[in-house]
């Protein structure tokens, strides 16, 4: 913080003059003043590039509502959000959960919620964290740039909500609910991982009706082609549909499921779009939270140095901050995995340290960034990485030591688990790679793809599960398959390809016995 310290105001009289407020209660004017200062510091002093900010003051119930709808400011109605709400409410009432932390919407303008119960200092923290930290991350990170439409998301959500409601009116709540249930079950397999389809979200309601017509046409075509007469059979024998395995199961269903009504296709599409919207967030949790924490910390310290906030605010802030970035160790009762806040924040701080004051070890490990301009380096990191690659690139031996990281190898073929790496010279590379893998969604989510439809026979849909590290699919795969069956309308099955490339059918729906009924 050397650059900042230079501006530090120490003269008590001067500090008194500059202090915005010593109150702990917020008012609209004070929030505005704070926001102006934070905006100035974030953009002018540190050069963050942000969407315009919209701060919304909400009550704690509204915050719980926002939690329940997984942060979507407008969500279609579904029982699962009610479940989410009740869980949140229970935890909040028990005091097990603090709601103070932010919800911020990746939209333009960027909407950040401030809860009315918060003190002025907490509001400052949330503004810095969410309205400038997350905001600039949304605007700068390549995943968000590629996969999300900050401009159009709110309109799209409104469209989705209305569309679902219209469907409910036309076809009945429960009918619609079934479709949404099935889509939710497959939501993890409703995203494109590699290439983005060129379909902006804008003006959804205008094109939606056209789409219904065109899509139905496409499907009629597909199935007409599938039932062609004998003379072309030989040709179609060799042709597999789809020609290439497809990873986006929901997309495949939307385009090809033979029995779906147009409105059902549209719902599949809505769920898929929303899944895609959140996909970028899933892949950048550590970076995104780390970035936001780094900036709230830096900005509030800067405010303190300029004399805009006083010691007591600073103490209050530091206490919250420390709680947020706390990492319990594996044997603690509070442990529930590595906290993205803790890891992300410490990595960001560590990068800054490597830039400002590199050790010999840092120079060996990070020759490119050691001694560079920390602002530029952090900005580069924020823009061009996701959790997996960010860790692979920037996790330093020092941080591994600080966190006392170690890896456990649990192989069900062995009786005991093995400590496969710890934070020592031999372990650093290894550990870093393992941690990086842990954040790789393609490692965390089973590799399941649409492989084939039996277009000559009974239209069975076959998914292929490419097994990795002998990990089987989870117990509730059967349940998910029932949902898939509901959407596809004909038999569905999963074929597992194990590491020796031998294949076997592992799941079927309906199962033989159900078929008899």
């Amino acid at each position: 913080m050397t650059a900042v310290m230079a501006h530090s105001v120490t003269d008590p009289a001067e500090r008194k003059k500059r202090l915005i407020s010593s109150e702990s209660d917020w008012t609209f004017n004070l929030i505005e003043r704070y926001n102006e200062e934070i905006h100035r510091i974030a953009t002018e002093v540190y050069g963050l590039d942000c969407y315009p900010v919209q701060l919304e003051i909400i009550s704690s119930e509204q915050m719980m509502d926002a939690y329940a709808s997984v942060g979507m400011p407008i969500g279609y109605n579904h029982w699962s959000f009610g479940k989410q709400f009740l869980t949140t409410e229970k935890n909040y009432k028990r005091g097990a959960m603090n709601l103070a932390y932010e919800i911020v919407i990746n939209s333009n303008p960027c909407i950040a919620y401030l809860m009315e119960e918060n003190t002025l200092t907490m509001q400052a923290l949330v503004i810095a964290h969410a309205a400038y930290g997350h905001n600039s991350f949304f605007k700068g990170n390549y995943l968000f740039k590629t996969w999300t439409d900050a401009e159009a998301i709110i309109d799209y959500l409104i469209f989705a909500k209305h569309y679902v409601r219209e469907c409910e009116e036309k076809y009945g709540e429960e009918t619609v609910e079934l479709v949404i249930d099935s889509c939710h079950a497959l939501m993890n397999f409703g995203v494109d991982h590699y290439k983005r389809r060129n379909t902006p979200l804008e003006n959804e309601q205008f094109v939606q009706s056209d789409r219904e017509r065109i899509l139905q046409h496409h499907i009629d075509d597909l199935w007409r082609r599938l039932s062609v007469a004998d003379d072309t059979e030989q040709q179609s024998d060799t042709e597999r549909i789809p020609q290439e395995p497809q990873e986006n199961i929901l997309y495949f269903l939307e385009k090809n499921a033979p029995l779906l009504e147009p409105w059902q296709r549209e719902i599949v599409r809505i769920v898929r779009k929303i899944a895609q919207y959140f996909y970028a967030q899933k892949q950048t949790q550590v970076m995104n939270e780390g970035w936001a924490c780094f900036w709230h910390y830096t900005i509030l310290n800067h405010m303190y140095d300029e004399g805009l906030i006083n010691e007591s605010s600073m103490l209050e802030f530091l206490q919250s901050h420390t709680n947020v970035v706390f990492q319990p160790s594996y044997d603690s009762d509070f442990y529930s995995g590595i906290s993205p806040y803790a890891l992300g924040y410490n990595m960001m701080m560590d990068i800054k340290r490597i830039c400002d004051a590199p050790t010999a070890e840092d120079r060996r490990w990070f020759p490119d960034i050691a001694g560079s301009n920390w602002r530029e380096t952090l900005d580069f990191a924020m823009r061009n990485f996701k959790d997996e690659s960010f860790i692979a690139q920037f996790l330093s031996p020092k941080l591994m030591r600080d966190f006392h990281l170690f890896a456990i190898l649990d192989d069900d073929a062995e009786n005991t688990m093995e400590i496969s790496a710890i934070h020592d010279d031999d372990g650093y590379q290894n550990l870093r790679r393992k941690l990086s893998t842990q954040y790789d969604l393609s490692y965390a989510v089973p590799n399941l793809q649409v492989y084939e439809i039996d277009h000559r026979g009974d239209r069975t849909l076959t998914l292929r599960h490419y097994q990795d590290l002998r990990r089987p699919l989870s117990d509730n795969t059967d349940e998910v398959l029932k949902h898939l069956y509901r959407l596809w309308g004909f038999k569905v099955q999963i074929e597992t390809v194990d590491e020796d490339d031998s294949t076997s059918i592992t799941y079927r729906c309906p199962t033989g016995s159900e078929e008899d009924k």
Partner: protein, 423 residues
Amino acid sequence: MPMIVDRRLDGRNKSAVNRQRLMRRYRVQIKKAVSEAVSKRSITDTDSGERINIPAKDVSEPVIHHGPAGRRETVHPGNKEFNTGDRIKRPPKKKAGGKSGAGQAADSGQGEDDFEFVISKEEYLDILFEELALPNLVKTKLARQAADNVVRAGFSSTGVPVNLNLPRTMRRAKGRKIAAIGAFAKRKQKLQEELDDEQANEPVDLDKVAELREAITRLTTKIETVPFIDTYDLKFNQFVRRPKPVTQAVMFCVMDVSGSMTEPIKEIAKRFFMLLYMFLARSYDKTDVVFIRHHTSAKEVDEEEFFTSRETGGTIVSSALKLTREIIDERFPIDDWNIYVAQASDGDNWEADSSVCSALLIEHIMPHLQYYAYVEIHDHDHQLLWTEYEKVKTRFDTFAMKQISGPDEIFPVFHELFKRRET
């Protein structure tokens, strides 16, 4: 410039719709949880909401992820004692945040705990009594208007002389008189003074005196024509008749505790009584419960004894009915109480007694009751008591009888007994 929007006044219950949907979706489970809760509660505990547990597997939203087998590697913080190559035992499963696969557990979100939430008292009772209403409640209310209360209802300007409100009437009369007479009286007084002056003067101007006297007489006549009491002054106390609210109910639980009543049967009976109680407690301000148990003779007991102690011996149902009648006469005047009787039995009765029972019911008990519910808990053929009760049933709408054979039939039976009746 950044916008600050105050959203606090926007709808708070954005999630209410979703919560309702959850409740609708899990209606069956919630109902089951409510029914189970009934058996754990005391018969008179109807004031609290209920914690609903739904098995996690029912509310779970299935998602495919990696199952717990295979070869997996996870990184954790806080190493203290481990060195590369150490071998450690697998921690017992289910330990939250345990070492094995904590990373997986976190993203799969697969908790073992039941999904639990609290429904309010109202929701609890609503679910319990869904679609039910007190039988004949409306009818009863109408019928009860015979037992009216007369209550004061202010004043009116018409009425019978006996209700005349004297102070008010007089006050009004006085006011009216002051208003009507005032001006005349003042003039009269002035003339009187002039007259007095005139008469004091020497010589007396007789013409003037006569003139004044005449004017005074005229005024006096005018004053006297103002009536002492006008119909306009009359005020009467007004009374209206209000139907006397009978807001209390008494419920007689009558149960056979002879040797043939086994524990499971009693358990079923308990639930039946409990449900009835809750139903009544919801409809009346105050609900008393009288427990009568009987074998060959009947006895009033407390709840504890009612459900727990056992007796052996034969069964004479009429003994309990007689006691019920006596207690009604003694303690629950029918003008003040809504009386319900619920009887549970295994259908056994001394043969000769059954006809006594039906006669007793028809003549002495049924006319005073709101409702009589009889359940027979067994799965064999009906005995004479049932046939006799059927006679009662043909005579009274308010008599209901039903046979159940297992705990799972309680609720449906209850439901049917008190099914909303067309009135």
